[in-house]
Amino acid sequence: MRRTRRALAVAVTAALAAVAATGCGGGSTDAGSNDEPDKLTYWASNQGTSIENDEEVLKPVLDAFTEETGIEVDLEVIPWDSLLDRILTATASGEGPDVLNIGNTWSASLQATGALLQFDEETFARIGGADRFVPSALAATGAEGQDPAAVPLYSLAYALYYNKQMFADAGIETPPTTWEELVEDGQRLTGGDTYGLAVEGASIPENTHHAFVFGQQHGADFFDAEGNATFDTPEAAEAIKQYIDFLAADGIVAPGNAEYAQNQSLADFAGGKAAMLLWQAAGTALEHQGMDPDAYGIAPVPFQADPPEGGRQVNSMVAGINLAVFQNTDNLDGALDFVTYLTSDEVQVELNGAYGSIPPVLAAQDAPEFATEERAVLRQTLADSAAPLPQVPAEDQFETLVGTAMADLFADAASGNEVTLDSVRQRLHEAQQQVTG
């Protein structure tokens, strides 16, 4: 009996050791193959008003690809709050899709994992060449000096959406072009239950995007030339305080916005509770909320009236979605055919038209779908005054740590605690200290 037990113990230990040893291998570094040329798995991000809406938009496009090439595409639309976790899990396990959507701000971080196919000159030639894409969108596909880890699929930029009726009622004729004007207008528009501006105070990505723009305008980069985090510089504190002050000091944002993270600010704007909103291509979402497109106007995001030294003329991040290929795909040729297809002029017009975004493919931008007032503002911003978020491997930490610090600052302000330059700097200092790796 004892011998049996010992034998069992040995067997269990051996099995565990074997599993642990093989498990430790993680994802493989195998180059792609063409072992399964007839099918592809595609993870799409949620660009439409719902997952079902995305499936409706994408299905005919994917069916046409299958008809053309004979390759079956297995589509999964993944919500934003779990997309990055799913990608990281796929990266670690090696069991991922062949082609996938990534937020363009993650490009350099995901590039550093080595899991994504690099688009070198030859690969670009295979999909029609790098010069087909808008340069600013192409700049957000990986670290500078390296081959891109993805290609742009949908481009977005921030704009200022304003309620025309509320502006007219307050006697404001033109939308603000500087933050000082925005505060002044906002205060005139604030009264009773309505406020000048709506923000997503508890949303980490929204906070980070605004931190970047205000940072650029104050000369704060959040990373040095070597890619090391510099979150707690005086310029960064000034930049973030200016944004938090909309709620903390200027009183143009409702205190309740500090707990918004589920697009409630969009609903507040559509419902007439707030007169202004800073958002990326909000048109489709506002229509979904039941807001008449004639009820709102669109203007570029404001700049500083008196730019501080080192400040740059940037009023939006280059927002957007990139298309990447997992390096260990079993259908490399099919995956590249699929990328070629999704970035072709016709499909670009169709998909960007449906999602309210701007095609990052130059030739597709001339289509009449993109001649609306909203698209004109977004295109102009992307062409003239948008910059990509820092394309450094540690960008993910900027998003997490600075975005969270700002959510905490909004919570402080909404709870009635004073937000000073020192308290902002302290929060940023704590964020800086948590940078790892």
Partner: protein, 345 residues
Amino acid sequence: MTTTATGNVPPPAGAGEAGGTGGTGKSGPGARRSARRRPRLPGRLGRGALPYLFLLPALVLELLIHLTPMVVGVVMSFRELTRLYIHNWGEAPWSGLDNYRVAVDFDGPLGESLLHSFLVTCLFTVVSVGLSWLLGTAAAVLMQDRFRGRGLLRALFLTPYALPVYAAVITWAFVLQRDNGMLNHIVHDQLGLTDQPPFWLIGDNAFFSLVVISVWRNWPFAFLILTAALQNIPREVYEAAQIDGAGVWQQIRRITLPSVRPVNQVLVLVLFLWTFNDFNVPYLLFGKAAPDSADLISVHIYDSSFGTWNFGYGSAMSVLLLLFLLLVTAVYLVFTSRGRRAEDG
């Protein structure tokens, strides 16, 4: 064991060795008959290995589903598993105890925030488990006697436990919203109890929101278990106590609580482990930016791992959490079994 069975049906494992009439002693006619009925496994090996054979599928699945990830997690905690290595983490450099050092360096920012999260979780667990147990016990005792509508009330009490956690917590999040939530509508708009509508999902109040939702979800479980346990106490014991002049409190203290003590010991342990490890409720309620006052450790570890892609450090924190829970469980079991032995003795 009687020997009326026919054919090749094997006896239940172990039953043969239990002896009794016609058992499988080494001599006698019963032994011979019993040996004929055994399946054709070689004698000693068959007897010894059979239980293990039956357990094998469960064992294999247990290893695959529970133990393997734990072992892999422990291995990960000794490596520098950052974004640079997650794709091929066999190549991640070994970092010895570095991840653990960072986690327990309470003067450093990461250790300090982990300690804060640990203390918040301890306080949350004590309050939540205490209240859940108290409510569950009170309701079970009050509903021990038959009365009209008892079945309906029982079903109603169990509803929170039966609801899917996602739907339940999202509903709570709506209720607790500052501007449009039902709670503030009552507290502030209708009753006028506060000057300003308070926040329930950010700031210090978030802790209380979390406790309320946790108790709301867990107390029906305590109620369910204790209701079952109370049904095993014979009515006669209470009747005898009443005849001897014992009041309600004395009956509860001297009869009810001692009778359900073994059940309570397991119940409190299970509630403690569930509450301490709870991920769903805080994550669904606060997302990735939990307020400091409600920074529970499971979400804290998740944020540290997935937020900054530092899975080695995340694993080290998980291992520390595992060790802590094992220690608490072991101490608790030793303590309670000693108490029980003393009582039995």
